[in-house]
């Protein structure tokens, strides 16, 4: 937008470009600074951070990767147990959410049936309700079904995420509906059409939702904190939280742990970034 004609407004355009680019660069630096500190602090001894806090300087004399090897041995490798828990819940939550979210969203968008309006209204309302208010009864439900302290308990509230249903519904609304008729003529069942024809078409949408779901799960604190009691089954956010105590924080563990928790998801994101943006854009949000 704002296509400013270069010929006519050359001077104005140059000034705008300089100002806007400066704003973009400064913002980028500010947003990246915490990562810089995370990394250089992970190389320093914990006492150093405890005593002096963060500092811009990289001091080669006291910097080393020993914290990373210490992280491996911390409480008999408990950090990697947390990592595993985070990966398992992230994988399960994302795969199950994508499967059901896309099926339901597709059903609402592709078919006309009685009750369709009511179901979509419920989806919209759920988008506005903070799931947090249901924590207590959900927790009691887990107690009754003996699923406290299990991964199933952790993912239960995210099995058919309303935001995914909404997104897939929007996405499929933009697809040609005669695909369904064409598939039927070719002798496919309606389910076959979904799995063989529609799923491949929806790959960009799956990509975008996969990243959002991974983000949500990787960062989720409150519900896993309530569900999981065994310290070996903690997810990273809970586990990292336990190293922050009133008697001092274990920075030797916190900082390398923080870096190790960030790196994989950023790498995945950088690789899929284009597809992710394309997927989000193609399912553009309509009222």
């Amino acid at each position: 937008m704002m296509i400013i004609k270069p010929k006519r407004n050359n001077m104005k355009h140059t000034i705008l470009t300089v100002l806007a680019t400066a704003l973009m660069i400064i913002t980028a630096i500010l947003l990246m600074i915490p990562f810089y500190f995370m990394f250089i602090s992970s190389l320093k001894p914990g006492e150093e951070i405890m005593r002096y806090g963060l500092s811009f300087k990289i001091d080669p004399g006291i910097s080393s990767f020993t914290n990373y090897t210490a992280l491996q041995d911390y409480r008999e490798g408990i950090y990697w147990s947390w990592y595993k828990s985070s990966l398992i819940t992230m994988g399960l939550q994302t795969l199950i959410g994508l499967f059901f979210g896309s099926i339901v969203g597709y059903g609402i968008a592709m078919y006309d049936f009685k009750g369709k309006g009511a179901i979509f209204t419920i989806v919209l309302i759920l988008l506005m309700i903070p799931f947090e208010i249901l924590l207590l009864p959900l927790y009691r439900m887990l107690i009754w079904t003996s699923t406290v302290d299990t991964y199933f308990g952790v993912i239960l509230p995210y099995i058919v995420p309303p935001f995914m249903v909404f997104f897939f519904r929007q996405y499929v609304s933009g697809l040609p509906h005669d695909l369904l008729e064409a598939g039927r003529i070719d002798g496919c069942t309606d389910y076959g059409i979904f799995f063989r024809i529609m799923m491949p078409i929806m790959i960009p949408a799956y990509g975008a939702m996969a990243i959002l779901s991974c983000m949500n799960s990787w960062n989720n604190l409150l519900w896993p904190l309530i569900v999981i009691n065994t310290d070996r089954k903690f997810t990273i956010p809970i586990g990292m939280g336990t190293t922050i105590t009133p008697y001092g924080n274990a920075y030797d563990v916190l900082m390398p742990g923080a870096v190790a928790a960030v790196v994989p998801i950023v790498v995945v994101y950088l690789f899929c970034q284009k597809a992710f943006m394309a997927g989000l854009t193609s399912g553009s949000i309509k009222g």
């Binding site: 990246m32 059901f100 989806v123 309606d190």
Partner: protein
Amino acid sequence: MTTPAPIQPSRKRAFSLNNPKVVPYVLVSPFVLYFLLVYLYPAITTVIMSFQHLDGPNSATFIGLTNYERMWSRTFVQAVTTTLRYTVWDLLILVPVPLLFAVLINSTIVKAASFFKALYFIPALTSIIVAGIVFRLAFGTLDTSLINQLTGLIGAEPRKWLMEAGTGNFVLILLTLWRWLGVNIVYYYSGLQAIPNELYEAAQIDGANAWGQFVHITLPGIKPVIIYVTTLTVLGGFSMFTESVALWQSANPGGIGRTIVGYMYMTGFNKNNMGMASTVGLVLLGMVLCVNLIQLWLMGFFKKENG
């Protein structure tokens, strides 16, 4: 379904899950089950629990409105105020600022725009607890902490940032902005992409300047996205918990930064008063629904058919 056809296959076909009339119900059935199990049943239970006193998971006594009467402690009111103030600041910053960036990124003014868009998104990938550690350290109580050193350069006294209500809430907003800026930019950007270029070309021929184009084409064009982002921001503001834990654990000094959800967690799980916690949850629900309805009404959402 009740056709008296004697031939087995045709009756089977009428019952079949493959029947195009039945298929959509099969497809949406997971959501219906999910809604009943994860939302409706717990919601009803919450209402019931709010009238109860619960000792442990299986013993409950009805106590009428006692929870509603006893709820209004100073800590609770403080948590409500904190949450409201946080949500308002969130709305004031996280709705317009990302829009400005998205417009810049979508324009021809900035070079390498997609690079910035990708970069701004990265904070959203980190866990708030992990990022919060850096923010805690940067705004640490030490005179030598990073921010105190920086403010010292312009001659300001060192402060205990996270120990005072005003500055503590400021850091909370900063952490939120850091994490969500890029996400909202992407939402807005996807909306801007959907506006046809011809509209801008036509406006230019009519002699509209950049501001006029923004007000008359861009804003109406991305109104659905603005509604979407506002709704998400309201929801995120009211249900905020993790950011607060990241900065203070659960040891909020004098209750600084403790939100309604934080208060609910404390009441329900630390003090084991599930009934009272349910009451608090219902108050939260009431507040969110009110705000959302007002916002949708302001945006004229009810005037047209929702699509």
